[in-house]
Amino acid sequence: MADDIYILGIKMTKFGKHPDKDTVDLASEAAMAALADGGVTMKDMGILAAGCLMGQGSIGQQIQKQIGQTGIPVFNVSNACATGATALRTAIMAIKAGECDMGLAVGVEKLAGAGLLGGGGKPKSDKKEWTPGGRYGAVASTDGRIGTDAMPGTFAQVGMEYGHKYGGATFELFAKIAEKNHAHSTLNPLAAYTKRMTLEEIMNDVMIAYPNTRSMCSANCDGAAAAVVVSGSKLKTMSLEQQRRAIKVSASILTSDPWQEACQVLPDVNTLTKIAAKKAYEQAGVGPEDLDLVELHDCFATAELVHYDNLGLCEEGGAVDFFNSGATWRDGKTPVNVSGGLESKGHPIAATGIANIWEVCHHLRGEAGDRQIEGAKVGLAHVIGLGSACGIHILEKSALG
């Protein structure tokens, strides 16, 4: 029986614009804060896993050069929007494998002002001589001619497909999901945007890809997050205070998308999330009804809806009714994205998969201040990286707490 795993220390930087800091600065800030939060130093770490999706691939070593070079193995990971969760999962696997008893996971990104992600591709001028290229022998760019490569439209279709299957998924419904997350963000001082927006403001905002307006899209911004994980047996040797604040990782799951008809035409973000959720609930021995809060991957308002269903928070096909019941507001049955979610907290890609775990831990430790979900004992954090990868972690308050 493998040892239990705990989050010993965890921190996220303020998300937003950090013009004077580069990715190494931000990652180092988060990493040092996580170490301090856990009451440990780089000397205690047996592994470092780090990710920066838009970076050059050696962010881990660059962080070490700022905060401590001890010769430990470094894993630079890249898994789209699930990069942060993958870094954490990597550190957890090393501990589970018995290679070390403590590890550090870091995710960082600088995206402020980055604009539209995905799409366009290599510019192919439509002139002179039509020359087939690429896997489909295309003579011109296919983005905009054969569907869309950009994220807002891709995830718009994910939500619309759900609407086609089960009905009720109107433009207004998706806008109401964004309204909830923007309302939640007003209580989060680390969110990139903390402005409450009315339904009317959201629906009348600039349309990006129907039904997603600008305020229904995740916010590109700068930020980093880091976590220190420790084995249960090592934790027992540490101080009572460290044990009290440690958060149990009851489940740590990473999946990729299994083959489904249409998955190579429109990315399937559903099947891999459903599989990950099922495994996570089994591993943790809890069910969706036990969750006091959920941070899920609302990269677009249209995505949040389908994940209510994928994570089993509602019955199959029941996501629209579930949302309309008020269940996912912070005073509802299953509060979702009380941080403000990616739509307002922001989405510095590789940081997201650790920042959402920080949010859940913050509540489980009872340290979330104004936005504290009272008495929170169990929470779930979910990310999706298109392509696709899904990370789910279920977290539980310490028995000592």
């Binding site: 510019p123 950009a150 718009a156 619309m160 035409v265």
Partner: protein, 132 residues
Amino acid sequence: MSATTQIPLVNYLVLGDTPHLQANECTSCGARYFDRRNACAGCFGTEFRTVDIATEGEVRSFTIVTFAAPGVPVPFVAAIVDCNGTSVRANLINVEPSPEHVKLGMKVKLATYSLGTDDNGVEAIGFGFEPA
């Protein structure tokens, strides 16, 4: 203009009198793919045959893109069309790009259009789906 002076936008678009799409179908499990294959992602089989895709279908999902990468003209309607069980990614064309005119479940059929002619006199032909 004769067919020899035309080139399809992508190699799975077959031009001629009855333009249609083609796919590589796994002979073991029937999975269909529009790109070249090493093996089937569903069953790992390595035998494929070329099959024609139905030219009529139903819109299973869509988005109206009004903000795109530089050089991509907007607005356009991106959609997933269910062509008799095979999902196809395409634009909806010859329809007003507004939620009042584009509906989930609407019946559509394949249509082609010209992308222009190059310096050698070759005309590139694209495809989309229009209301049936």
